[in-house]
Chain length 342, copies 2
DNA sequence: CTGAAAGCGCTTACAG
DNA sequence: CTGAAAGCGCTTACAG
């Protein structure tokens, strides 16, 4: 079925000139009222506002952008890696928090998928004044290009870039070391003494930090930290890591898993092995999402407040864009959530 | 920590005048070359293109938008209902497909969260020429306002609006009746004869259509269709519905669940009841995502190709925006994926 | 406090 | 085939 349809939007939108005419003032003055400039006679303000209300006037964003040199748009840059994005609730949550916050401002949030085939394309777009700033989520360490970008465009990172700390970078992140320690200490408080871990990919900052937290907590308690296996954040990698742990033949009474997705895979292996959770093995993980909430048993985890993080990233970016001044580091707090697995 | 930072982006972007000067032509001519207008002397085309390459010129989108009356941006409108959006992989997948497709065009995709407090705000934004078109995902039946919107702005729906069929609406959807039937027929082919269902919310088109598919397949086979319970797409509602089914005291050998999320909840109940899947009860569900892939046993399901749907929605919308002509209905095909649960 | 004028970076009739 | 001019809808020095 095919059909002719309208083209173009907002056909006869009221314009600034219209408002000015109706209020009996110049466009300059109308503009001043609209933008809240000082030193405008109250009576004039009132008349202009009435005209605006009567006409249902809303300033044309494009025209305003052109003259102001601002697009009133920010980009959220998402790594392409399709499969990962699908399965990982992390992105959906950050995006949700960011979009929600942005909706309460007069900035638009636009989604930009990094082209793997042509990474330059993304940077071109960002550098060409198409957006006022960017939110960068890369898990992995491709960020040297983004470091450069951050010199010409306001950029907020959702993950601390790897390598030496750069104080010019603005980052909003979560303390993954604390998160790892929180989960581990909780198992220790539950009386567990032989605690293994399934770490996230050690190529990622988050994976390494959470592992460090685990080690730290064990050290505090004088416990061994030799039982480490690595996964890649997917459930199946969690299952495989759990199998490798079983293969060691060491009796374990606690397991800290670097992500809820991996934990859900690990639970299947424990069940198949006839181990009861939490009776035989208490399990704690990191990140609260569909995987931790719907596992059986439900998973004790550390809430990373990921959607808050998305909102905080936008807030930081708008601070940078509008004021040019910002805290270079914002840490989102984490909380332990105790459920049936521990 | 606080620090002074740059403001504004693209500081000294090359301009059309610059290109024109360097090529020794007028801005009009340079513009024509850039926009591929006909009847330009080959030599001139070459010189302008060289100037563009030398300068690294990229047209200013904002200026272009202002004169063309097009923003080169489309909005994806997301229902606010936070919790649902979080847990439901559907949105993430549609968004991903849409963003991916949009990235291959010169349109930007911007995320617009419907304000529940002030729904008019969303419509205002859409009507004010901020975008060239909109993608609407509402599950529920709030869409009469969107129907109106569709009269003044190109709109593509991701779900068939409830009520009488309106041939002026553009919709990209999936045949949920076929999906329900596919899952059900598969269990019948597996020799199951007493097949219950857990339907999605019957207030949604998808919930009703999938249920109709289940009924249709049972009718074909001459089987009873009296075992229906309803859930709300969450895992816990699936668990409760499964319990209600158990409470009926009817022996069932097949179960069709209206979503993978609900199925994951139902599986827990079956396991606790000591029923083996698929030996005692074969389970099939609808939608392929983290829930169906990571359940244990892994779930036989109907793949709805949701990210393809997101891409198709963008394609349809751009057709509408650019050509003003479009197929009013696009159906995304569905496929059965057989896994361990059946 | 307010208005006339210039200009943001493009595109597109209109002449030639 | 090409250029001079007008204009898209705003904002903002500059005068007054």
């Amino acid at each position: 079925v095919t059909t002719e349809m309208h083209r173009g939007a907002a056909a006869f939108a009221p314009t600034l000139s219209g408002v000015a005419a109706r209020a009996g003032v110049s466009r300059s003055t109308a503009s001043r009222v609209i933008n809240g400039a000082p030193h405008v006679t109250p009576g004039v303000v009132r008349r202009v506002n009435e005209a605006i209300a009567d006409l249902g006037y809303v300033p044309n964003r494009t025209a305003r952008s052109l003259v102001r040199g601002r697009t009133q748009t920010i980009a959220m840059v998402i790594p392409e890696r399709t499969a990962e994005f699908f399965a990982d609730p992390y992105f959906a949550e950050v995006i949700q928090g960011a979009a929600m916050y942005a909706s309460s401002t007069d900035y638009s949030l636009s989604l930009l998928i990094e082209s793997e085939a042509d990474p330059e394309k993304t940077f071109q777009f960002l550098r060409r004044g198409n957006v006022d700033g960017a939110l960068v989520l890369s898990h992995h360490s491709t960020s040297s290009a983004y470091r450069d970008l951050a010199r010409t465009l306001p950029v907020v990172f959702g993950v601390r870039p790897p390598g030496e700390w750069d104080d010019d970078l603005v980052v909003v992140d979560v303390d993954n070391v604390v998160a790892g320690a929180l989960a581990t200490r909780h198992l220790i408080e539950r009386g567990r003494t032989r605690i293994a871990t399934i770490a996230g990919p050690l190529t990622t900052v988050a994976g390494r930090d959470r592992l460090d937290g685990w080690r730290g907590a064990l050290a505090e308690a004088g416990l061994d930290d030799d039982l480490v296996e690595e996964g890649d954040y997917t459930p199946s990698s969690g299952a495989e890591a759990a199998r490798r742990h079983r293969g060691r033949g060491v009796a374990v009474d606690g397991l800290v898993v670097g992500s809820a997705q991996m934990a859900s895979g690990a639970l299947d292996v424990l069940r198949d092995a006839g181990l009861a959770v939490p009776t035989d093995v208490a399990v704690a993980t990191i990140d609260d999402n569909a995987f931790s909430m719907n596992a059986s048993p439900t998973l004790t985890t550390v809430d990373l407040h990921t959607s808050e993080k998305g909102a905080a990233m936008v807030a930081a970016l708008l601070g940078l864009v509008a004021e040019g001044v910002v805290r270079t580091r914002t840490r989102i707090p984490v909380d332990l959530i105790v459920r049936a697995s521990s």
